[in-house]
């Protein structure tokens, strides 16, 4: 099984002909991902990487029937691109771009939820199901098909967790980078739910970091709804307080946001904690026995 993406995924690349999109699309195709086309307004009718280019997502939808879209357009245009994909009814939209204004995401998230679609990101490495499909910018060759589901707010930290579980021979069912922005399209909870339902996933690694209360909310969800073992590492145990948090922001968090609090909460909800970055793989292994 796996979650979100697999061999049946038919991927559309938005911002297809840009340099980043081109490089990562080449890598995705080499990994075996089925890219059915791309969108660059004004370049419709041409081909790029031997795939058809369309002027709009709707035209692409009618011609090649994608069921997922990945977005590489610059941040000022992401709101438009995400909502264009949503308007065309693309069920899974992954936004890689970093730097999308938060005010844009408030509207985007509301709209995506109202339409019943799924957005991953922005500011994320994407989603990979090892051996099946790679929708993102992660290095494919560190992955191994296996039983651990990985969810993370950070790109390179995900790669660490992947490398460790690969080196121990455990492998991954699917890895999802939900992104490091304040308003992510999908939360830890959304992805935990999918891993809980996935037959192939035997354990879940949740890589969190300081700020906000997504990990605390995930902890409550895990206590109630997740029967599979969850292993967590929280980055930022040595980060100074108040560096990026506004004065009034701290009051909404009501004491939430430090690594210490997150770890305490996760522990109290039955989550296994990897005390340091180097112990993620070993902790999974010892939990799985």
């Amino acid at each position: 099984m796996s979650i979100l993406v697999n061999k049946q995924t038919r991927l559309l690349v938005q911002g297809f002909t840009g340099s980043q999109a081109t490089m990562h699309s080449e890598q995705s195709i080499a990994y075996g991902t089925n890219i059915v086309g791309g969108v660059t307004p004004g370049k419709g009718g041409t081909t790029h990487l031997d795939k058809p280019v369309f002027n709009s997502v709707l035209e692409a939808k009618e011609a090649v029937d994608p069921n997922a879209a990945i977005i590489f357009v610059p941040a000022p245009f992401c709101k438009d691109s995400i909502l264009e994909a949503a308007d065309a009814g693309i069920e899974l939209i992954i936004c890689i771009t970093e730097g999308v204004p938060t005010i844009d995401m408030l509207v985007v998230k509301e709209k995506i939820d109202a339409l019943g679609l799924r957005l991953i990101g922005p500011n994320c490495p994407g989603v990979i199901t090892p051996g099946e499909a790679k929708l993102g910018i992660m290095p494919g060759d560190i992955h191994l098909k296996g039983s651990v589901g990985i969810i993370s707010r950070s790109g390179t930290l995900t790669y660490e967790a992947v490398k460790q579980t690969t080196d121990l021979g455990l492998g991954q069912s699917t890895c999802v980078g939900i992104g490091g922005d304040p308003i992510p399209g999908s939360s830890f909870i959304d992805i935990l739910q999918l891993f809980q339902e996935d037959k192939e996933t035997e354990a879940i690694v949740l890589v969190g970091e300081i700020g906000g209360s997504a990990e605390e909310e995930a902890a409550d969800f895990i206590a109630q709804n997740v029967s599979k073992p969850v292993i967590s590492y929280i980055a930022g145990q040595t980060a100074p307080a108040g560096k990026r948090m506004g004065h009034a922001g701290a009051i909404i968090a009501g004491g939430k946001g430090t690594a210490e609090d997150k770890i305490k909460k996760l522990k109290s909800c039955g989550v296994h904690i990897a005390d340091n970055l180097l112990e993620i793989g070993n902790t999974v292994k010892s939990v799985l026995g």
């Binding site: 005010i103 408030l106 509207v107 790109g155 660490e160 930022g236 506004g246 004065h247």
Partner: protein, 386 residues
């Protein structure tokens, strides 16, 4: 990005929100003219720094003559103001705000933030103003209201009435607040704010609502479409090293330890700091060199890290994703050559072509060690720093 109070009040005035008659001066000799232009016989003079807690630190004063305002400006302009929110160096006073004096009846609290859990702009209001709102939240939570704004409907009149009730406003003031709330929301959305705080929002003795303070933070991701706000940026209020890093598009935070860190990715950078601490060392900084880690970026990162005299060793931790580690290794060597690095450097390369990359580093003539295991690299850096 943060704004000064006077800049925040400029925005308030643009959006029809009531602020005092005021003038901003950057030279003490302009104080007398400013007071005379404002008129009246009492003025409030306020030192402009980004940090809060200015009043207790002596940065706010009520004066009876323009001459006193001038003396205040002479005393503070260009000086460091240390408050409980700054470090021991404080922040440079870059301007003085002179305002007409407000007769205060009652002090209230109003702010708006982006709440990550509800994914909405949330207004926070309390009848307890002018004090530390976190203490109010802790001691008397019943005096605070959190009112979320739906991005599709915008603020609705019933929400203004709900906030007015908590603030204890009378009918006329509630009507006034009902007109102000949509303007606050408009300002927040149009200017891409991440925080708007008025502490205190006051009821004047004549019964009218008035914004006595203005604290505004802006979403840095949105600066591309906020040219007016970019103009308001005051670099003197920020850590010079963080400023320098921002110029090179590197994310840097200075810390107290002696192990310089250069890492690709924010999460891994924090993870690396934690690992150093785990093995008994102290990181000197957080630095995310970015996904590509080119020679230019690495060279700039070295320059910033080494500008900190505390740094005794630099730990470079790169997880080469799409970018090959052999290219990164060459970039690191070229950067060391360019910058002239005098302290020992420990490099950990992992991922794509890591072995070739490590070999390139091991063969170089520099005092630089290559370990492709983070545990060993972190331990070695801690050892070298002692």
């Amino acid at each position: 990005m943060n704004l000064h109070e006077y800049q925040g009040k400029q925005l308030f005035a643009e959006y029809g929100l009531p602020v005092s008659n005021n003038k901003v001066i950057h030279r003490a000799e302009d104080a007398v003219d400013a007071c005379n232009e404002i008129g009246g016989d009492k003025w409030v003079v306020k030192a402009q720094v980004h940090a809060g807690g200015r009043g207790k630190a002596g940065g706010v004063k009520l004066v009876d003559t323009p001459e006193e305002a001038k003396q205040f400006a002479e005393h503070w302009l260009g000086k460091q103001l240390v408050t409980y929110q700054t470090d021991a160096n404080g922040q440079t006073v870059s301007a003085i705000l002179i305002e007409s004096c407000t007769d205060i009846g009652k002090e209230l609290y109003l702010s708006a933030v982006i709440d990550r859990s509800s994914r909405k702009i949330v207004f926070i209001a309390s009848s307890e103003g002018g004090v530390n709102i976190e203490e109010v939240a802790q001691n008397s939570p019943e005096k605070i209201i959190y009112e979320p704004i739906d991005p599709l409907t915008g603020p609705l009149p019933f929400q203004a009435r709900r906030i007015s009730k908590i603030l204890g406003l009378d009918a006329a003031q509630a009507k006034q607040f009902g007109q102000m709330l949509p303007n606050f929301v408009k300002l927040f959305q149009e200017k891409d704010l991440s925080l708007l705080e008025i502490n205190p929002l006051v009821i004047k003795t004549d019964g009218n609502l008035h914004c006595l303070d203005a604290k505004i933070n802006i979403d840095s991701n949105a600066l591309f479409r906020q040219p007016q706000l970019v103009e308001m940026h005051d670099p003197t209020q920020e850590d010079p090293k963080e400023q320098e890093a921002a110029k090179f598009d590197l994310s840097y935070v200075s810390l107290d330890g002696n192990i310089g860190c250069m890492v690709n990715g924010a999460g891994l950078a924090m993870g690396t700091m934690d690992t150093i601490k785990f093995f008994g060392g102290d990181p000197a900084n957080f630095l995310d060199v970015g996904g590509t880690a080119t020679q230019e970026r690495v060279a700039n990162a070295f320059k910033i890290i080494l500008a900190d005299p505390k740094v005794k060793v630099v730990l470079v931790n790169i997880f080469g994703g799409i970018v090959r580690c052999d290219l990164i290794a060459k970039g690191i060597l070229a950067a060391i050559d360019e910058v002239g690095v005098k302290v020992p450097v420990v490099v950990r390369l992992e991922g794509n072509n890591a072995d070739t990359g490590s070999a390139i580093i091991a063969d170089s003539d520099y005092e630089i060690e290559s370990l492709n295991n983070l545990e060993e690299a972190a331990k070695r850096a801690v050892e070298l720093a002692q």
